[in-house]
Point group: D5
Amino acid sequence: MPHYTAAHAQAGLKSKLPPLERWPNPYPGYETTLEVPEFTSVCPKTGLPDFGFLRIRYQPKRWCVELKSLKYYVNGYRNLGIFQENAVNRILNDFVKAVRPVWAEVTGEFNARGGIKTVAAARYPKRGHR
Amino acid sequence: MPHYTAAHAQAGLKSKLPPLERWPNPYPGYETTLEVPEFTSVCPKTGLPDFGFLRIRYQPKRWCVELKSLKYYVNGYRNLGIFQENAVNRILNDFVKAVRPVWAEVTGEFNARGGIKTVAAARYPKRGHR
Amino acid sequence: MPHYTAAHAQAGLKSKLPPLERWPNPYPGYETTLEVPEFTSVCPKTGLPDFGFLRIRYQPKRWCVELKSLKYYVNGYRNLGIFQENAVNRILNDFVKAVRPVWAEVTGEFNARGGIKTVAAARYPKRGHR
Amino acid sequence: MPHYTAAHAQAGLKSKLPPLERWPNPYPGYETTLEVPEFTSVCPKTGLPDFGFLRIRYQPKRWCVELKSLKYYVNGYRNLGIFQENAVNRILNDFVKAVRPVWAEVTGEFNARGGIKTVAAARYPKRGHR
Amino acid sequence: MPHYTAAHAQAGLKSKLPPLERWPNPYPGYETTLEVPEFTSVCPKTGLPDFGFLRIRYQPKRWCVELKSLKYYVNGYRNLGIFQENAVNRILNDFVKAVRPVWAEVTGEFNARGGIKTVAAARYPKRGHR
Amino acid sequence: MPHYTAAHAQAGLKSKLPPLERWPNPYPGYETTLEVPEFTSVCPKTGLPDFGFLRIRYQPKRWCVELKSLKYYVNGYRNLGIFQENAVNRILNDFVKAVRPVWAEVTGEFNARGGIKTVAAARYPKRGHR
Amino acid sequence: MPHYTAAHAQAGLKSKLPPLERWPNPYPGYETTLEVPEFTSVCPKTGLPDFGFLRIRYQPKRWCVELKSLKYYVNGYRNLGIFQENAVNRILNDFVKAVRPVWAEVTGEFNARGGIKTVAAARYPKRGHR
Amino acid sequence: MPHYTAAHAQAGLKSKLPPLERWPNPYPGYETTLEVPEFTSVCPKTGLPDFGFLRIRYQPKRWCVELKSLKYYVNGYRNLGIFQENAVNRILNDFVKAVRPVWAEVTGEFNARGGIKTVAAARYPKRGHR
Amino acid sequence: MPHYTAAHAQAGLKSKLPPLERWPNPYPGYETTLEVPEFTSVCPKTGLPDFGFLRIRYQPKRWCVELKSLKYYVNGYRNLGIFQENAVNRILNDFVKAVRPVWAEVTGEFNARGGIKTVAAARYPKRGHR
Amino acid sequence: MPHYTAAHAQAGLKSKLPPLERWPNPYPGYETTLEVPEFTSVCPKTGLPDFGFLRIRYQPKRWCVELKSLKYYVNGYRNLGIFQENAVNRILNDFVKAVRPVWAEVTGEFNARGGIKTVAAARYPKRGHR
């Protein structure tokens, strides 16, 4: 019997989260990195908490993300059941939709579970084969 | 109600600051990095202080920046209300105007606020899409 | 008399190990790094244990590796006689067969033996000459 | 009134220093890095000492630098008034003249003055615009 | 009077050392790094010992180096008079002759002498100008 | 107006939490340290999450704490409103009641809030004035 | 002529600062450490800013310090001219008066000035000769 | 239902292990610390491996422990089911019996399980209450 | 023939140095640590420079040391021939005479010479046998 | 068959080594620490080299050790067969005989052999039971 079900792989992908706000960027053409060491969510399989360190890098175009709304958005994952890799990808998608950057990257480093540590990194727009 | 106003996004962009001086460079064609760990400014939204670590890298052409004037220039932000990302971009613009380098980069690593740490990096001349 | 035999070089390459499972990836196009600090196997020459730190990086296509099965798979090396370099290469091959990634890399950093530390790194698909 | 004079910018550029010696390189085509953590000179403006960490990287052609002569050469800066950036550039020029390498780089990391740390890096032959 | 003689520059280049052995590589196309923190030799000028950290990276073709023979080979330098840069280059040459890799690199980081630390790095096959 | 109320200072002190279990200690007279890097609770004033690193040291008498029950007990704070200092003291009291150690210490290092980091340390039995 | 005047040594000792608040401690007999990495004040001699890292350790009796009021109190030094050692001692005195702890210690580590770093540590009640 | 049984708490306490040997100490009155970073055993409850770092400190009287026999003794735990705290205590007892030191301490730092890391420290002869 | 003469052991003990100044201490009973990473002097035997890190700890009574005068005092060793251990002891004696502390300690960590690093620590008043 | 013989335990205890010299101490009553990171000797059982980091701490009475003679003395162990613990004890005895300190300590941290690292620490005069 496998260790997962299809429901686990879809958990949390569509749940409602607090909105990401933005402010108008007066200096187009630079880069920002946001480090969020206090990410936590819930494993949809075991119900136990996951902990991670998020890093969001982006080049703002017309907008910068508003930090207080980012704090509430990230806090929205606290009791959400979602796989670690899926959380990273959803955060990237929500960020791109709200802030419309030239490019963006989201990396999540998660604390070890079962002796194995996971780091997931997603990027917009997608790059081709390395 | 959003967390910001247009006035916040423009605060501090035009305020007068001490001038950056320069000395004649006898060896064109090398690079200099200046690390300034004691940057502090004020958040225009909350009135509370921000703290950051600046790093200025540049390739001098005819001029090198004079360090004592840089110290007073940076100290000019101490009671200035300005967003962190805007401070980094303004410092780059003021530096380029005063020193006329071949190229220059300014990076600001700011202490976490609301559990989120911001790093902003601007460059002259602008590079294209990565 | 040389220090090895052909049997040593082939030991453990075909032994049966617990299967690697997978779950369907809803977000193609990102990267995952899995760190496994608790790898241990047995030297086929001396019968003494080896200890290593594995790092698996890959870009999932249709599947992600299931972590619990990876834990049992890695644990399967605990009493297996196999050279360190061969373990790294076999893990890569087994991983690629089970998970069908766009690309994958396996790195093993092994504790020093005889005062010498070995790090082996294999990649799929193979790259040309550097 | 500016903080410098033209004399400061030229100080120490022509002063006599102990010679750099060399030995014949039997293996052309490799790289050497020399780390010199005990560089000290004098600020021509204030008369106070500067302290720095030099790093010299080069690819020897027919000659390698002799280390004892390098020690005496570096010690020659101990009571010399010279700007930090100028010291780095002069060391590169003197090194290239004596050792005739394929290429060479000199980096100087200097202890902070006025809360600002300077790192200067020069290279032979000069590279174009990054 | 210079600090060296031609004899110093040639010392140890031809001395006999224990042979490097090899075992057949079943997985062509990966990389191995071997870290040897306990290298010691003798300075041919002063007769005093040198200490260094060797790092050997290579891509095995048909053969992998046998570690026990490498340990004895390295130990062969213990009472050999040879310049640090020459030791690194000779190790690379001996390694390539015995193991026939696709490529190989040898780096030696040596403890400071006279306040100056030397790092030498050689590579097979030689690369062109950087 | 002060920043707190009496209700904040009492929040979470009596809430029900999962029980701590124990197993019989065959070797009286030694010490154990348990590090729990993933503690999180909620600030009763702001409703925002707190994050901390717990360290529990004790000398078992007849019983050792059972680790799985400790994991569930700690996880019970995830959605509990309680001041950081109060959480540390309550954990000590609950631990002593369940495990009956010769002595015990609980230390909590909490992530900075408002630029200030709190570390609280409680001990059973209480010590006199330092 | 000496480098100081009596006025410098008394500067800032009596200036008004925001009040320190407190909340009732339900668990007497433990210790708290508060780390405040963002202290800044002004040198009364040069008018230039000082930067420091404060650490406040205390054993609460009936009261704990309220953190938000501590943040505003520390921020009150931002434009105050006061010697570093005096700031540490005044903070201890103000803290003891407001919070009435069993004991308290204040340590300030200040960034180097003139190449010299100062750390000052004061304690209530005073201890005898070490 | 509790998470353990009495059998788990007794597992591995009496199993046969390779003997510890000793050599005669010519210099009574000093201390030795032995660090063993490669300890591994098996959890008697889950059958999964545990990994730890052992540190043995002792003052030899008439005998010193022979290191090769210690290596084989430690390796004897590789497939033994035993709780981490019990392993530390058993190693101390076996060591004291074989080597007869003036005093000895054994500390085991074990990799986290369920997000909790355990460190156990036992000492011969037992000390009184701290 | 021994490596030293009596003159070496006495060199620099009586040479004139810039005076240490002081300011009146308004808060008796605390401790100060001064870190001076840029100490340099000259070896009286070889004429080559020594480099060290000084740490001065003291409890001020009526006076605190004035930092600018300390900077010039330390700089007075720059071209003084004196053994490292003697420099540490002389600095302690000069400091105690000028500042009249309750107690004081001077520690000097010197860069390695001949592969050996020296740390010397002197204290006023002298303590008895450890 | 045991792993050692009585001859191994006595090897190197009486071999002749270069003499330790001394210079007259003008400042009785302080402490010196000498760090010697480049100790190497030979294992009398295997003939293979050992590597270690020595630390010598002492309180000079009438004499200080002369560093150049210490360098040659330590180098005398390079081809000497002696157990690690015995080397530490012999160095202490030779040091005390030559320098006549108030007290002295010698610590040797040796690189791991067979996965086990040894640290030995001896002291003059001997202390009683801890």
